[in-house]
């Protein structure tokens, strides 16, 4: 690997990690789309900042862009509060306006501004190593590395300091407010941090893909864990993984680095979406099917319980009563036998003692919802896991 290659991967990795952290909270707050809005609106801030300083790497640009991001959020909320339009519409109204003003300003001054629309939309990670930071004659490395690195340090510090506040204001804003942890303050704090993050990542991956880097790792992590800290770590890991493998995929295919990173993320998410152990699509389909079988089993057992006459328990009568397909009937019968709930004395079906007990407990649970008593049954039956 050459030095620029290492530097590009380093920048990509830092960008991905930086995006993943606020992304987790945006996803949990059901605010994913606001990141899209911010990523476009900040262009206006960057352009205005550039007009003031005439320097693309001035910290003022980051400040201006962050302000533009927060203004986007304020405008969206103000429009939404008039109750004339809904939130998604308000988002759709605000950011294109700010973005297009930014675009017009760039194109009007195209000759003297070193900012072009392509770079804004897609970023230019491959050129990042050429834009270096010198102190005197000493080469400190690519500027982007320092910018994103500092943002990441600030972000992690804030996350550690305010983890508890972020958690409670996201989970239960009502209690948070009552306890004196202002959810409004946390909301705007998160919006400011998200804006700064997006500005930092913007240079590297552009306005469109930064959204993917924020939302996709968090959305994938959400499907894999039920613990907020693990969700953060997983999101960071997915971001990191996509940055490095995306870079090499781009190398191999001679394609855009940021595009490849987002593609890798998309593939990772798709795999999680399908195969996540408990929240994935396949697990869901499997669970639905099993649950349906268990409901049928319970119906079957209840019938046996309530109709103790021999005639009612004959296979012929049961077939008539349930009118299940042969395949279904066989499956349910097998399930009942395998669990030791019934025994068959041809042509009669009988409840075992365990079957009787199961019936009583199941009815009791369904009617009273007294969950403590079925803890044991939860091991064998999905039906009781709520």
């Amino acid at each position: 690997m050459t030095l620029p290659q290492i530097e590009i991967q380093l920048i990509a990795a830092l960008v991905a990690i930086t995006c993943a952290i606020p992304g987790v909270f945006l996803v949990l707050r059901k605010m994913s789309l606001i990141s899209d809005a911010i990523s476009h609106s900040i262009l206006l801030g960057i352009v205005l900042g550039f007009f003031i300083t005439q320097d693309l790497s001035s910290p003022l640009l980051i400040a201006m862009a962050a302000i533009a991001g927060v203004i986007t959020v304020i405008l969206v909320e103000a429009i939404q509060n008039t109750k004339l339009v809904k939130e998604d519409t308000a988002i759709g109204l605000v950011f294109p306006a700010m973005f297009s003003i930014g675009i017009i300003l760039i194109s009007q001054n195209a000759n003297d501004v070193h900012l072009d629309v392509d770079a804004v939309l897609l970023g230019e990670l491959a050129f990042a190593p050429f834009n270096r930071w010198y102190i005197g004659d000493m080469d400190m490395g690519p500027k982007a590395l320092w910018v994103v690195g500092s943002i990441l340090v600030v972000l992690v510090t804030l996350l550690i300091l305010f983890f508890k506040e972020l958690k409670i204001s996201t989970f239960d804003p009502g209690l948070s407010a009552a306890l004196g942890i202002s959810p409004i303050l946390m909301h705007y704090g998160l919006m400011t941090v998200s804006s700064v993050t997006i500005v930092g990542a913007f240079d590297a991956v552009g306005a469109i893909l930064v959204v993917a880097l924020m939302i996709v790792p968090a959305a994938g992590a959400y499907l894999l864990t039920t613990n907020l800290k693990k969700m953060l770590l997983l999101a960071i890991f997915f971001g990191l993984f996509s940055a490095i493998s995306g870079y090499w995929a781009a190398n191999l295919l001679n394609a855009s680095i940021s595009g490849s990173m987002a593609t890798v993320l998309g593939i990772v998410f798709l795999l999680i979406y399908l195969f996540a152990p408990s929240k994935g699509l396949i697990a869901n389909v499997y669970r639905d099917k099993r649950q349906k079988n268990e409901v049928m089993l319970l119906t079957f057992l209840l019938h046996l319980h309530q109709h103790s006459d021999k005639e009612e328990r004959s296979v012929q009568h049961l077939n008539y009563h349930f009118s299940w397909s042969q395949k279904q009937a066989k499956k349910i019968l097998k399930l009942a036998v395998d669990n030791g709930l019934i025994y068959v004395e041809n042509p009669y079906v009988n409840l075992t003692e365990k079957g009787e007990k199961f019936n009583v407990e199941a009815i009791n649970y369904i009617l009273s919802n007294q969950t403590e008593k079925v803890e044991r049954m939860k091991q064998d039956f999905l039906l009781f896991r709520g």
């Binding site: 949990l28 300091l161 305010f162 983890f163 508890k164 506040e165 958690k167 409670i168 996201t170 989970f171 239960d172 009502g174 209690l175 948070s176 407010a177 009552a178 306890l179 004196g180 942890i181 959400y222 864990t225 039920t226 613990n227 907020l228 693990k230 969700m231 009273s368 919802n369 007294q370 969950t371 403590e372 803890e375 896991r385 709520g386």
Partner: protein, 246 residues
């Protein structure tokens, strides 16, 4: 001074959503150590009243005092149990973690819960019978269990006043009994408990104080005196529609 000590005093409180008053000129005194139900029809402003007490909902006019002080100074004396439907139970967290959130107010900003907080949280879970579920993911709880967790979260605050928004909504009978027993226990310790309540039939059995609310305060007092047909008719009766549409 021999006069009654009031846990909560609501003075001429008016709250509006947009331009429609939801609470109008409400004057209410809650004595210390009572177990009080707030009853009234849908849209009567019951939840709004407790949100205004907690400073979550801003008022147009009027004041709320907690032991004679503004709420902001008395946060630590008040524990709040929101409606369980107001939070996302798919949030990635566990039972013990939710209960620990009750300690966040006393901890203040930045400081994290430590050993003492954890101990208090476990004790609160024990009280509501949820200790065996402490590490369970909250999405796997039944409605009754969710409400018990919320109650444990309030208990852990060890406050003087407990304000609860419909704690019996969507819970099973066992949980309802368990919760009311804990509330009665709190009253024995001279704590004040204010509950937004829907089921009129259980008012005399569960509570010793009642407030009838329908935009305006209809009446408040001991259940034995105030829980009567006249107040019920005034609050829920034929006049109800006229009052609301004003």
């Amino acid at each position: 001074m021999a006069e009654t000590k009031y846990a909560i005093r609501v003075h001429d409180l008016t709250v509006a959503y947009d331009y429609k008053p939801v609470l109008w000129d409400v004057h209410l005194e809650v004595p210390e150590g009572v177990l009080m139900a707030i009853v009234g029809p849908n849209g009567a402003g019951k939840s709004t009243l407790i949100k205004a007490m907690l400073g979550i909902k801003k008022s147009i006019a009027g004041t709320v005092e907690i032991f004679g002080q503004p709420y902001k100074k008395m946060r630590k004396e008040v524990a709040y149990v929101p409606q369980k439907g107001t939070v996302d139970w798919d949030f990635p967290t566990t039972v013990i973690d939710v209960v620990l959130m009750g300690t966040y107010g006393n901890l203040g900003w930045i400081k994290r819960p430590g050993k003492n907080e954890r101990k208090a949280a476990l004790e609160a879970l024990e009280k509501v019978g949820m200790l065996p579920f402490k590490n369970r993911q909250i999405s796997q709880l039944s409605g009754g269990q969710q409400q018990r967790v919320f109650l444990a979260r309030a208990l852990v605050q060890d406050a003087s006043i407990y304000i609860m928004d419909e704690p019996f909504q969507g819970v099973d009978a066992t949980t309802e009994v368990a919760i009311i027993n804990i509330l009665k226990e709190l009253r024995k310790q001279n704590k004040t408990v204010v509950v937004v309540h829907h089921d009129l039939q259980t008012v005399p059995e569960y509570f010793d104080w009642v407030t009838f609310l329908n935009v305006k305060k209809i009446d408040t007092g001991p259940v034995k005196e105030a829980f009567n047909d006249e107040n019920l008719a005034k609050t829920y009766g034929i006049n109800y529609k006229v009052t609301v549409n004003q």
